[in-house]
């Protein structure tokens, strides 16, 4: 019991650090990419929330933004990219096509990326307005704050 206060404060400090410095890997495929670009630029700045820097390599990123439609041909590539990312990692499904296949219910489109990888935040919209994107990002930050953070010393104890 003596470590309780210490552990929760450490948890909070760690989650504060992690949520305000998210390195994103934008997996951009389709039309939502335009709204992603608009959200990242001057009018609706995503950099104010600490998530500005895009790391163009999965091994250096901790947030995977799947933007746009994922087709059957692209599904193994998405799984490989997700597996290449290091812990801790979060996934945002951006746009209706990533959330559930969107208006394309046919032979070529995966009906939602949660059939392939686990998803943390779903941002609907076709394409979503940049304000919706920022709202989704804030929800992800809240989720990170309330999560149990993984760190090595804790695991070694057991």
């Amino acid at each position: 019991m003596e470590g309780r206060f210490f552990l929760t404060t450490l948890n909070e400090i760690l989650s504060w650090g992690r949520k305000y410095s998210l390195f994103q890997y934008p997996f951009v495929t389709a039309c939502c990419g335009m709204e992603y670009m608009a959200a990242a630029c001057a009018h609706f700045d995503i950099d104010r929330f600490g998530a500005g820097w895009t790391r163009f390599s999965p091994r250096q990123a901790d947030m995977l933004l799947v933007v746009g439609t994922v087709t059957q041909k692209l599904a193994p590539v998405l799984k490989t990219v997700y597996d290449q990312m290091t812990e801790p990692k979060w996934v945002i499904a951006f746009g209706t096509c990533a959330v559930s296949g969107g208006i394309y219910d046919n032979y070529a489109v995966v009906q939602g990326i949660d059939q392939i990888i686990p998803v943390d935040v779903y941002i609907p919209g076709c394409p979503p307005r940049p304000e919706t994107v920022l709202d989704g990002l804030i929800k992800l930050q809240e989720k990170i704050k309330n999560q149990e953070q993984e760190w090595r010393w804790k695991r070694r104890k057991f």
């Binding site: 934008p26 997996f27 951009v28 495929t29 389709a30 039309c31 990419g33 335009m34 709204e35 670009m37 608009a38 630029c41 001057a42 009018h43 895009t54 163009f56 746009g68 439609t69 087709t71 041909k73 692209l74 590539v77 998405l78 990219v81 208006i103 394309y104 046919n106 032979y107 070529a108 489109v109 076709c126 394409p127 307005r129």
Partner: protein, 441 residues
């Protein structure tokens, strides 16, 4: 099954894969390169990672229902795809669109064309390292999207241009917003000309790289700004004019050498010409019809009050139904009642209006063109955007095929980058303006 390049590669060369998910934000395409040091010996382009089955979906939707699918083809200039599809169907039906609707269509399609060129060059410049140019151009694009949003309701995928005309009239206060967009775009273009035109680094990366001769470009089926950069004068707006383009005064910039720098320059000059067209159209558009009574009442109450007046007063319905009032019809939608939804006053009050509304949207009735086929092309952001529709008399198209301009342009990529260095692939690919939605349909 090994790909072609794996079969043909020499054992001492290096095979590199620029995979489907790469940071040059163009979408998903896979370029495999066979290298000797840094020089490219052979390459192979693999597409199809965004094949969403557009043509097959269209065979299962009625002519009216498939408008949103056309938005998402060339998603940087969505109103032009809408326009191409709608004009093809109108050609098949043989209907005439009122003049105000034609002017609004020209205005919207030129705004989309500017937004297309801005995005293409912004991405190309960002990959060469000029991040400021990217931010400036996206800022200008936001002003243009504001104008589009005020009128159509959505920033990007709008479904605004409908069969028979447009969905709603321009916003009453559109003029100040449009003038602001024009001045901001001109300022941004001036800044970017100053930043990139004589910049030694940009010139070294784009001058005399990926040169293509006019005969080869025609053989590859290129159209649009990429073809005009080689010196061939072909613009669908001048060769087969549609809408009111034959009355407007604009030039078509041509390049000389067909390299990356010319493709960049042709797009910059075309944006200036599009701004000229927009100013001419703005001068020709009379002010919106005068203000209307019964703001704030329920639609049924408003219609009843309007009918009590002699003569019947035009009313304004709630914002969702904007554009569907009877007095708007002669100006923004054609008057042939078979092909457009009936005005909302009639739908809400008379039984004939309700029945015709029901029959228009119901599957099996609605727009049924005569049997036959048609091909029509408009000038898209990348070139000649053509639609080929085969109709069998029912309310769904039997076959709809899109002539995507990017498909032909990207098929020449393997030819263009042969013999150059790896780093030349990036500005070349950026200047070709590949849009995944159009390429893979």
């Amino acid at each position: 099954m090994p790909t072609r390049i794996e079969r043909e590669a020499r054992p001492e060369s290096l095979l590199i894969n620029m995979g489907p998910s790469h940071p040059a934000m163009h979408g998903t395409i896979r370029i495999m390169l066979e290298l000797d040091g840094e020089k490219i010996l052979n390459s192979e382009v693999e597409i199809g990672y965004l094949h969403r089955g557009f043509e097959k979906m269209c065979e299962n939707r009625t002519y009216f229902n498939l408008l949103p699918y056309t938005d998402r083809l060339n998603y940087v200039s969505p109103l032009i795809n809408n326009l191409g599809y709608v004009m093809t169907v109108e050609k098949m039906l043989g209907i005439e669109v009122p003049r105000r609707a034609q002017l609004i269509r020209v205005l919207m399609s030129e705004l989309s064309r500017i937004s297309d060129h801005l995005t293409c060059l912004a991405a190309m410049a960002m990959e060469c390292g000029a991040f400021t140019v990217f931010l400036y151009k996206i800022k200008a694009r936001e002003f243009i999207w504001d104008v589009i949003e005020w009128t159509t309701g959505a920033r990007m995928t709008t479904s605004y241009i409908r069969i028979g005309g447009v969905r709603a009239d321009l916003h009453p206060d559109y003029r100040p917003a449009l003038e602001k967009a024009i001045t901001e775009t001109r300022q941004v273009l001036k800044d970017v000309h100053g930043l990139l035109d004589k910049n030694k680094i940009f010139l070294n990366r784009t001058r005399d790289i990926a040169v293509i001769k006019p005969e080869e470009a025609i053989n590859f089926g290129w159209t649009g700004p990429c073809l005009r950069s080689t010196g061939v004068y072909y613009d669908v707006r001048k060769a087969h004019p549609y809408l009111v383009y034959n009355e407007l005064d604009f030039e078509v910039p041509l390049g000389e050498r067909g390299d990356n720098y010319d493709r960049y320059m042709v797009r910059m000059l075309e944006m200036e010409q599009s701004l000229r067209i927009i100013e001419q159209v703005m001068a020709q558009l009379p002010a919106s019809p005068p203000e209307i009574m019964a703001d704030g009442l329920e639609p049924y109450e408003a219609i009843k009050q309007a009918r009590r007046q002699r003569p019947e007063k035009p009313i304004k319905l709630s914002p969702n139904l904007e554009g569907a009032e009877k007095h708007r019809y002669p100006e923004i939608l054609c008057s042939d009642r078979r092909y457009v939804p009936p005005p909302k006053e009639e739908v809400y009050t008379t039984i004939e209006g309700l029945i015709s509304h029901f029959k228009f949207f119901m599957k099996g009735h609605g727009i049924r063109p005569p049997k036959g086929e048609v091909y029509f092309a408009v000038e898209g952001g990348n070139g000649e955007l053509g639609f080929y529709i085969v109709s069998d008399g029912t309310d769904k198209p039997y076959r709809l095929h899109l002539r995507a301009p990017c498909f032909h342009i990207v098929s020449a990529l393997e030819f263009l980058i042969k013999g150059h260095m790896v780093a030349d692939v990036i500005p070349t690919f950026g200047s070709l303006n590949m849009i995944g939605g159009e390429l893979d349909r």
